[in-house]
Structures are given as structure tokens and as C-alpha cells.
């Protein structure tokens, strides 16, 4: 094992910020593309503009907050069963 800390592309905060910037741009592109896609949903709300984006975002945020609540409920010390 090497003890010396290697520097890679992802170590510099500038590059990390750049990756995030491309990520946000790709989100915008997805929202723009949706204008031009023909829609054939099984449910009416599926065809509403941005349904999947909103559902994905809200779903994941609520996932995290419910998981935090769950942790409060089920978390025990690591040697609980010993």
C-alpha cells in the first residue's frame, strides 16, 4: 500500500464543481427534450409536463426523511444482539 496521497482529477474542488455544473446542465437538457417527445402514458398525470422529474425528486427527498425517522426507530448499538 502506498502511503502517499495521490491526486486525481476528482480531488480538486474546481473539478468537482465542474462535474456538478455538467450534471445540472444535463437536467435542464432533459426538461427541454420533454417538449419534443410524443407521449403515450397509461395514466393522465403521466403526460403532465415534468411529472417524472417532480416525482423522482420528491420521492427521493421523502425517502431520505422517512429513512431518518426509521433510523430513530430501529437503530441500536452495534453489540445489541451479542
Amino acid at each position: 500500500m502506498k502511503t502517499q496521497r495521490e491526486i486525481t482529477l476528482l480531488d480538486s474542488p474546481k473539478n468537482r464543481a465542474r462535474v456538478r455544473k455538467y450534471f445540472y446542465i444535463s437536467l435542464l437538457i432533459l426538461l427541454v427534450i420533454e417538449f419534443f417527445t410524443p407521449k403515450h402514458g397509461h395514466f393522465p398525470w403521466e403526460e403532465a409536463y415534468g411529472f417524472y422529474a417532480v416525482y423522482g425528486f420528491i420521492g427521493c427527498v421523502s425517502l431520505i426523511f422517512i429513512a431518518k425517522g426509521l433510523r430513530w426507530l430501529v437503530k441500536r448499538k452495534e453489540d445489541y444482539y451479542d
Partner: protein, 589 residues
């Protein structure tokens, strides 16, 4: 016409020869076995054959149709990949257990009657215990015992159900069973336990993270998916399974967010993915069943890939907790890429295998207008990307730098990961070979602009939620902890029971004994008939009742000693099953 044999026989009989071979010859032999089984599959015609009359019942070792063939192919494929991945392991018992385990799964797949199904079912369960035991640390042998107890319970339910079923119908042959009487409920319970249906799932996240690096790859592929196969055959269209499956897709993702052990995160996401399949079985339409089989196929490959890449990290660093890892992409770039391909596949990103298979089940739910189910499945799709797609690669290979500088794993492990990663991408781009082996004709088109854009939005905005929450500090930090699950009831109740036997029950016994002695002492002054009465009560209270707590205490201590010899005991249990199987196969020839 080329003569074929039951594919299970190749792997199970082949496993027995492993300890007699050495060096390169053994490695070659291990790889030849699944290859041989695959060639054998190719020449097996559709139909029912290898029928053995055993104790006046017809046992069918070969029920070959499109459904069993699809599962047969993927089980053999993953056996090859898993063996390749494990090739550098020097432990013979692990190789033997993996081969027998795979043999058991193939036996279940092609069994046409309930008796042979049961025998392979138990071989599958017992052989897999050895893959946990082989880790050789105390936590894993305890977990192996719990795993075995769960499956023993499931196996007994199944056996009881089978006996009732055969008594009712007079034949062990089965096809569609359906949930209608006591026998079918027992059989259903046995199958559901192996499919990790809530609340019978707790063995899975308990045992899989404690299995060996290579054993977990087999376990992730075989037990739950053979149960999915058998449920798809016997209980399609059972409404209960729709809700059970949808619930299975949702609840594990909350656990996966807070769990620290990376392989436990994968175990919870495995339950989530099997939930999609169980839900599809419940819907039971042609599209849904196609979705189940396709998803089982691609799931086995990408889940194995995820277990292989995280296993490689465990193998090289000895650590697997998210709190201990991070920044490994610097020295393990190949493993990191494989892990991300697996993560993209499980999240159903377009151009990866999960996309072309999972969407069939979701579309089947939409076609049946199951609104709430559809919303649950969509939520689970976003959630699975969140924990398996982002959390696993992020905390292991990126995230904060842990300072660990581990090398890439050995060449055979890299090769196995490479093959699995290739299949993930290949099926994602060109799903036709997969669609061709499905049980019903496929009219489903995965790549429509709407579907691709919708799925990408769902996933990417889920990723946005992750980014926002991590940057703002709301994301729950990784911490070392035990998270309770439904096995709490079994584990704590079990311990309470032992305590109850050791302490209050014993005291009650002593108290009763004292009372009886006192009463009897007074009665002794009255002659004749009272002496007979006394002798009767005496023997009941002295040796009958009071020995019960003692008996339980001794039994508990005995159990504890037996657990220490678990592998021998299991081998003894396994032997009669093999003997029975050999006997049946001898009848065949």
C-alpha cells in the same frame, strides 16, 4: 440424438470430485462443469422426461419448457461466472458447496413433481449454509445457524404442505397450484420464505453480508430467484402477491439508506428487486410474466456484478463498511467501473440491462390500471437508484478519501466482473436474445422516446435530491449500528425463551417439588390407598413435571454445543438427501 442427463446431476455429482484434483487441473475442471451443464441444456428437448417411479409415485426430473429453460440458462451462466470469480480461492469446501448449491437450484428449476422439488430445495438450502460458514468468523457461524433455522422452518412448511397436497390429489405432480386450501397456504409460505417476502425476509440481510466474498455471489443469484421461478409456475395471478411485491419494493430502500455495511445495502436492494418480480407474478398477465423472467435474468447478472465488485473491495481491503471506505477509485479503477455498470443496470438506466426488463413489469401494472401499485413501483425505481446506484459507488469508490490504497483484485476476479459487466451492457443495448427466451411472445418495445426521457428524468432528479441533501448536510451520515428488522421478534423471543427456561421455569419447578413433598409428607400418615395415590402424584411431580425445565435447559446447552459443530451436522443432514437422490437416479438408468 445426443443423450442428455439432468443438469443438476452434472453439478452435484461433479462437486464430489473436486477434492481429488489439484492445481491447474482443478481450475479447469471447475470451469468445465458449468460449461458441460450449459451444453447439456442446449440439447434438452421440451417436454417431460426422466420420470422415475419411486414408492408408487411418478417423480419427474425433467420438466422442460420455456419458463424452466430461461431460468436454467441464467443459473448455469451465473455458476460459470461465480466459479471463475472464486477460482483463486483455495478452499475446496467452498467450491463444492457452490456447485451443489447451483445443482440444487437447477434441480428445483426442472423438477416436475413436489417430492424431487423438496429434495433439491433442501440441498439448495443446506449447501448455501456452507458458504456462510466458510467465512470462519464467529459472527458468520452464528448467522449461518440463524439462516439455517429460517430455511429449516420454510422447508418444514413446504414439506407439510406437500404431504397434504399429495394426500388431497393423490399425485405429487404440480403445475398451477393457486392459493385455495391449507396445503397450498403451507406450500406458499415455504416458497415465500425463500423469495424473501415480508415479513419472512429477515434472513437475507442478516446472512448475505456475512457470507464469504465469493459465496455471496452465488447466494445473491440462486435462492431468491429459484423461489421466484417456482412462484411464477405455481402461484401466478395471486392478488396477495401484487401487494406483497409492491411492499417489498418499497420498505427495503429505507433500510438501505441507513445501513452501513455495503453488502447489506445490496442485500436490501436485492429484496427490493425481487419485489418487482413478486409483484409481476401477482399481476400474472403474459406481459407481467415475461417481465418477471426477463428481470430475474438481468437481475441475477447485475446483482452478482455488484456483489463481485464490492466483494473485491472486501477481499483486497478486508473492510466493507461505508464508514471505513472511500476514494478507492484511485487504485481500483476497473472495479469502480464494474460497480458503476452494475449500479446503472440495477437503477434501470437506458442502455443497461435493468431498463429493458424492469419496465415490462411496471408497464404490466399500468396496463392493468393498478394506480397505487404503479406509483409504488415508480417510487421504488427512483429509490433504488438512490441507494444502490449512487450510495454504493459513492461511499466506496468516491466520497471522502479513506486513505486506503488497495490494488485491483486478481485476474480471474476481474475477468468474471468483466464478463458480467459486458452482459449488462449487451442486453441493455440489444435485448432481443433475452426476449427470445421468454415464455410468451414479446410485443414490448422498451426504447420509446417517452419512456427513455421519463426514466432519465426520474433517475436524474432523484440524483439531484441526493446532491442537494448531501451538500446541505441533511443526508443521514453513515454510522456503525444495528438496525432492527423483523428477525428481532425471533431473536429476542428466542433469547427470552432460554432465559425463561433457565430462571423462572426452573424456580417454579423447584417450588412445586417442595409443595408436593410437604403434602405427601402429611399424607404418609394415612395408610393404604393414599400410598398408591402418593406414588402416582409423586412420579408425576417429581420426575414428570420437574424434569421439564431441566430438560429444556439441557436441550439448550446441547443445542449450543451442536451449533459449534454446525458444518458436520449439516453434512450429516445433507447426506440422506444425496442418498435419496442417488437412489432415484439409479432407478432412472
Amino acid at each position: 440424438m445426443i443423450k442428455t442427463v439432468p443438469p443438476a446431476a452434472i453439478l452435484i455429482a461433479g462437486a464430489l470430485l473436486v477434492p481429488f484434483l489439484k492445481g491447474r487441473l482443478k481450475k479447469a475442471y471447475l470451469l468445465v462443469l458449468p460449461t458441460l451443464a450449459f451444453l447439456n441444456l442446449l440439447y434438452m428437448p421440451a417436454g417431460r422426461y426422466w420420470i422415475v417411479e419411486f414408492l408408487s409415485y411418478d417423480l419427474i426430473f425433467g420438466r422442460v419448457d420455456k419458463l424452466s429453460m430461461a431460468f436454467g440458462y441464467v443459473f448455469v451462466l451465473i455458476t460459470f461466472i461465480g466459479i471463475l470469480y472464486a477460482l483463486n480461492i483455495k478452499d475446496d469446501s467452498q467450491h463444492m458447496a457452490s456447485l451443489m448449491y447451483a445443482g440444487g437450484a437447477l434441480g428445483v428449476t426442472f423438477a416436475g413433481d413436489l417430492f424431487s422439488l423438496y429434495i433439491f430445495w433442501e440441498i439448495l438450502a443446506i449447501a448455501s449454509v456452507f458458504l456462510i460458514l466458510a467465512r470462519k468468523i464467529s459472527t458468520s457461524s452464528a448467522a449461518a445457524f440463524r439462516y439455517f433455522t429460517w430455511h429449516f422452518f420454510g422447508g418444514l412448511c413446504l414439506l407439510a404442505g406437500i404431504i397434504l397436497y399429495v394426500m388431497n390429489r393423490g399425485t405429487p405432480e404440480f403445475a398451477y397450484i393457486g392459493l385455495n386450501d391449507g396445503a397450498s397456504i403451507l406450500i406458499f409460505t415455504g416458497f415465500c420464505l425463500n423469495a424473501a417476502v415480508f415479513p419472512l425476509h429477515a434472513w437475507l440481510p442478516d446472512a448475505y453480508p456475512r457470507a464469504t466474498v465469493t459465496g455471496a455471489v452465488f447466494m445473491s443469484a440462486l435462492t431468491t430467484k429459484s423461489a421466484v421461478y417456482i412462484l411464477a409456475r405455481t402461484f401466478p395471478g395471486t392478488e396477495l402477491l401484487i401487494w406483497a411485491g409492491a411492499f417489498m419494493t418499497c420498505f427495503p430502500i429505507f433500510y438501505a439508506v441507513i445501513v452501513n455495511d455495503i453488502r447489506r445495502v445490496l442485500a436490501y436492494s436485492l429484496i427490493n428487486q425481487v419485489g418487482f418480480m413478486v409483484c409481476g407474478i401477482g399481476i400474472g398477465t403474459q406481459l407481467a410474466i415475461n417481465g418477471v423472467v426477463a428481470h430475474a435474468f438481468s437481475h441475477i447478472i447485475y446483482k452478482a456484478l455488484l456483489f463481485m465488485s464490492t466483494g473485491a473491495v472486501l477481499h483486497m481491503t478486508g473492510r466493507i463498511r461505508a464508514t471505513d471506505l472511500g476514494g478507492l477509485h484511485k487504485t481500483m479503477p476497473f472495479t469502480a467501473i464494474c460497480c458503476m455498470i452494475g449500479a446503472a443496470s440495477i437503477s434501470a438506466f437506458p442502455l443497461f440491462s435493468g431498463f429493458v426488463s424492469k419496465s415490462m413489469t411496471v408497464a404490466a401494472a399500468a396496463e392493468e390500471h393498478l394506480t397505487i401499485i404503479w406509483l409504488m413501483l415508480m417510487f421504488a425505481s427512483a429509490g433504488v437508484f438512490h441507494h444502490a446506484g449512487i450510495k454504493v459507488p459513492f461511499f466506496v469508490f468516491f466520497g471522502h478519501d479513506s486513505g486506503i490504497r488497495a490494488k485491483e483484485p486478481p485476474i480471474n476476479m476481474r475477468l468474471a466482473m468483466g464478463i458480467a459487466a459486458f452482459i449488462c451492457i449487451f442486453l441493455g443495448i440489444y435485448p432481443q436474445p433475452l426476449y427470445r427466451i421468454l415464455p410468451h411472445a414479446v410485443h414490448y418495445v422498451p426504447y420509446t422516446a417517452f419512456h427513455v426521457v421519463g426514466m432519465l428524468q426520474l433517475l436524474m432528479f432523484g440524483a439531484l435530491a441526493f446532491t442537494v441533501l448531501v451538500l446541505s448536510g441533511y443526508y443521514p451520515p453513515e454510522m456503525r449500528a444495528v438496525n432492527l428488522d423483523t428477525d428481532w421478534f425471533a431473536r429476542v423471543a428466542g433469547r427470552k425463551f432460554i432465559w425463561f427456561c433457565n430462571s423462572p421455569l426452573k424456580r417454579i419447578g423447584v417450588f412445586i417439588k417442595g409443595c408436593v413433598s410437604r403434602i405427601v409428607g402429611q399424607l404418609k400418615t394415612v395408610p393404604d390407598r393414599s400410598v398408591i395415590l402418593e406414588n402416582g402424584t409423586d412420579s408425576f411431580f417429581h420426575s414428570g413435571l420437574t424434569s421439564l425445565p431441566n430438560l429444556l435447559f439441557v436441550w439448550g446447552r446441547h443445542l449450543r454445543t451442536e451449533i459449534k459443530q454446525l458444518s458436520w451436522n449439516l453434512a450429516y443432514i445433507l447426506m440422506p438427501f444425496f442418498a435419496l437422490l442417488a437412489l432415484m437416479l439409479l432407478w432412472l438408468s
